[in-house]
């Protein structure tokens, strides 16, 4: 089983790493709000299409349909929400690792490997949806250089996708530790830090989904 983790208490009695991750998340809020602000300020100001919610006919007569694919994005949003559920179950499994498991249900709920795998898999699926969406947009004529919508959209969602990618790498590293020596209650803080980051990425998407995709 795992070795006891070193504690880094501050004068508040709280672990410095947990304070640091919350401070980091606070700063990330500002980063994403700046990107969202940019998107909203540029919204509706593109001189040429494709547009997010309206069809566009170019001077050459080429017609572009509304470019956002709401059913696909709704599915990816659901996937990311479920990954947050899997992550919180992974944390609970690590915290309760030493609690005896009597039933199959207890063993499933208590498997940190299963829930970490699920979270990483769902995160990767979300990235797959995003890769599909970006490819479809480029094929339909929208790139980061096409118009203000393309620039602000790809920057905002691209930054979010990069954060999800970092989260998946973090999860895979936790999985590697779990396979190597097992994650136990002494590692709960390390998993908690990853979980906080993952949930933050999820809440950012909750906001992006509403502001970018649903509000016309």
């Amino acid at each position: 089983m795992s070795a006891p983790a070193a504690h880094h208490y501050t004068s508040t009695g709280l672990d410095s790493r947990k304070i640091a991750i919350w401070a980091f998340i606070g700063s990330e809020c500002m980063l994403f709000v700046s990107l969202i602000s940019t998107y909203l300020i540029y919204k509706g100001k593109s001189l040429v299409g494709p547009y997010p919610h309206e069809a566009y006919t170019s001077p050459t007569g080429q017609t572009f349909p509304p470019i956002l694919d709401i059913p696909v994005t709704s599915a990816s949003t659901f996937v990311l929400l479920m990954s947050s559920l899997a992550m919180v179950l992974a944390l609970a499994a690590v915290q309760n690792k030493e609690v005896p498991k009597h039933t199959t249900g207890d063993r499933i709920l208590g498997s940190s490997k299963l829930w970490l795998w699920m979270t990483a898999l769902l995160g990767t699926t979300f990235l797959g949806f995003q890769a599909y969406e970006f490819t479809a947009f480029v094929n339909e004529g929208l790139t980061i250089r096409t118009n203000l919508f393309g620039s602000s959209f790809f920057t905002l969602t691209g930054f979010h996708g990069a954060h999800v990618t970092a989260g998946v790498i973090w999860l895979v590293s936790l999985l590697a530790i779990d396979y190597r020596r097992g994650l136990g209650p002494n590692d709960a803080l390390n998993v908690d830090l990853a979980a906080l980051y993952w949930h933050f990425v999820d809440v950012v998407w909750i906001v992006i989904f509403t502001l970018v995709y649903l509000i016309q």
Binding site: Y9, G13, G26, M87, A92, N96, G110, D192
Partner: protein, 119 residues
């Protein structure tokens, strides 16, 4: 384990700090929260496909409220801000408040500027 409450992370706090914390929810609560989040998302997408609702004045505020409920639910239950130390709440809501004010200020500024420039 099924009905056992998940305890606060023992490695994150000293006993003194832990005294200010409460137990984390059970897995049943997490699943219920997941169901609520899914239901709200379904309602949001459903609303998007009702043209009369989209054209109405309540559409945008309604979506913003639903999004805010989802945001707060994840932060409170999945990120455990409801149960954790108050300092974490301050570290999160402080920058979030500043960011929200910045967003509103920018929207107002650019809205006014665009109006003055006639765009």
């Amino acid at each position: 384990m099924a009905n056992e409450p998940v305890h606060s992370d023992p490695a994150a706090t000293t006993p003194h700090a832990a005294a200010h914390e409460h137990h984390h929810p059970t897995w049943q609560t997490y699943v219920k929260v997941g169901a609520v989040l899914t239901a709200i998302t379904v309602a949001e997408v459903w609303a998007y496909y009702i043209p009369s609702l989209v054209a109405s004045r309540i559409f945008v505020p309604m979506l913003l409220i639903m999004s805010a409920v989802k945001f707060i639910t994840v932060v409170m239950f999945y990120m455990h801000l409801k149960y954790d130390h108050k300092l974490f709440r301050v570290l999160f809501t402080g920058p979030l408040f500043i960011a929200a004010l910045t967003l509103l200020a920018l929207m107002f500024l650019f809205g006014q500027l665009a109006a003055k420039l006639g765009r």
